[in-house]
């Protein structure tokens, strides 16, 4: 089934976006990115650490992935906008994963600052990938503001708690015409498959892979899970029933 992902005017065959945070080493990261089949990878900007060896960017470039810089750690629209502009200089890309968080315990997005930053960045020509709550109304506002993708969380970043409110994700998916990327909370393969079954266009995850006991194996699991969920979504699942529905006919039973 030819089923490419369109994001910000570009076409991708993988529907799995990988965050790079939390990987035990750049080697482990490279193995994971490779096993995941991802074509888009998030990175952050931080102060130069003179003791650091190698660069995440070399890994990403070597694999031919597109960079999606993020604004992780920003609590205000001002900081996020500034960070986005810095990222544009650093990576020569208009793409930005916009994170504007409300506190450092939940890392949940702050709707007000997020919308403010979104409007500023869209005006400045950015392709905004907006990390947001699962609120369908907020998702629609972001879509109306011109984001490249609405990226609702399934549960808090790094929590591995999966999709706590699948109904909201399904309603959000129906509420907007732009791509919806499930971003944050994925813990294991079935979570990623479920996200796709709910109609999401892609899944973004980091910790589920980078902090797994065997990251590259989990990366491969996620690749297959996203493909599985996408196929299942369009294959038209059977309805859920309370009782059974025989798969073997009772007709023609012998008299024994």
């Amino acid at each position: 089934m030819d089923d490419p992902l369109l994001l910000a005017g570009e076409t991708f065959s993988s529907r799995l976006i990988l965050g790079t945070g939390g990987a035990p080493s750049l080697d482990a990261l490279e193995a994971s990115l490779s096993a995941s089949g991802t074509e888009i990878v998030t990175v952050a900007l931080r102060r130069l650490d003179p003791t650091a060896r190698g660069s995440v960017l070399d890994v990403v470039d070597r694999l031919g992935c597109r960079v999606l810089p993020n604004t992780a750690g920003c609590f205000t629209a001002r900081d996020a906008v500034l960070t986005a502009h810095l990222a544009r200089e650093a990576f020569e890309t208009d793409w930005i994963k916009l994170e504007v968080i409300g506190d450092d315990r939940t890392l949940l997005p702050d709707a007000v600052e997020l919308l403010d930053a979104t409007e500023q960045l869209v005006d400045a020509g950015f392709q905004v990938f907006a990390y947001t709550t699962d609120d369908p109304i907020l998702g629609r506002r972001l879509a109306d503001a011109g984001v490249a993708a609405v990226m609702p969380l399934g549960s808090p970043i790094g929590s591995g708690a999966g999709i706590r409110n699948p109904y909201n994700i399904a309603i959000l998916r129906e509420s907007v015409a732009v791509p919806v990327v499930l971003d944050a909370g994925i813990g294991t393969a079935s979570d990623a498959a479920l996200a796709m079954e709910l109609g999401c266009d892609a899944v973004l995850l980091a910790s589920a892979v980078t902090r797994a006991q065997v990251p590259a194996r989990m990366a491969e699991a996620m690749r297959k899970a996203v493909e599985a969920g996408r196929l299942a979504h369009s294959a038209g699942r059977i309805p859920r029933r309370l009782y059974a529905e025989a798969s073997t006919s009772f007709a023609g039973l012998p008299a024994l």
């Binding site: 990987a23 900007l45 931080r46 130069l48 650490d49 650091a52 660069s55 500034l82 200089e89």
Partner: protein
């Protein structure tokens, strides 16, 4: 002159430019994956080569790191 780089004081020869500061830290103005803010404002990549520095300037030199 003394500038603040990523929150720490750093001495530079008078007349040093941003490109000199980059060079000290092993980067060229063509470097990919780095970004620079000067006194809270982004310095466009195109301006790195010619950007002057003054005593007391606060420079943020950021690089790509693993992230979410």
């Amino acid at each position: 002159m003394i500038v603040t780089l990523n929150g720490s004081p750093e001495e530079l020869p008078d007349g040093a430019q941003l490109s000199d500061l980059l060079a000290v830290h092993g980067h060229t103005t063509a470097a990919r994956g780095i970004a620079i803010a000067l006194n809270g404002a982004v310095v466009r990549r195109a301006d790195w080569a010619a950007q002057a520095l003054d005593d007391g300037d606060a420079v943020e030199l950021l690089v790509a790191v693993q992230g979410g």
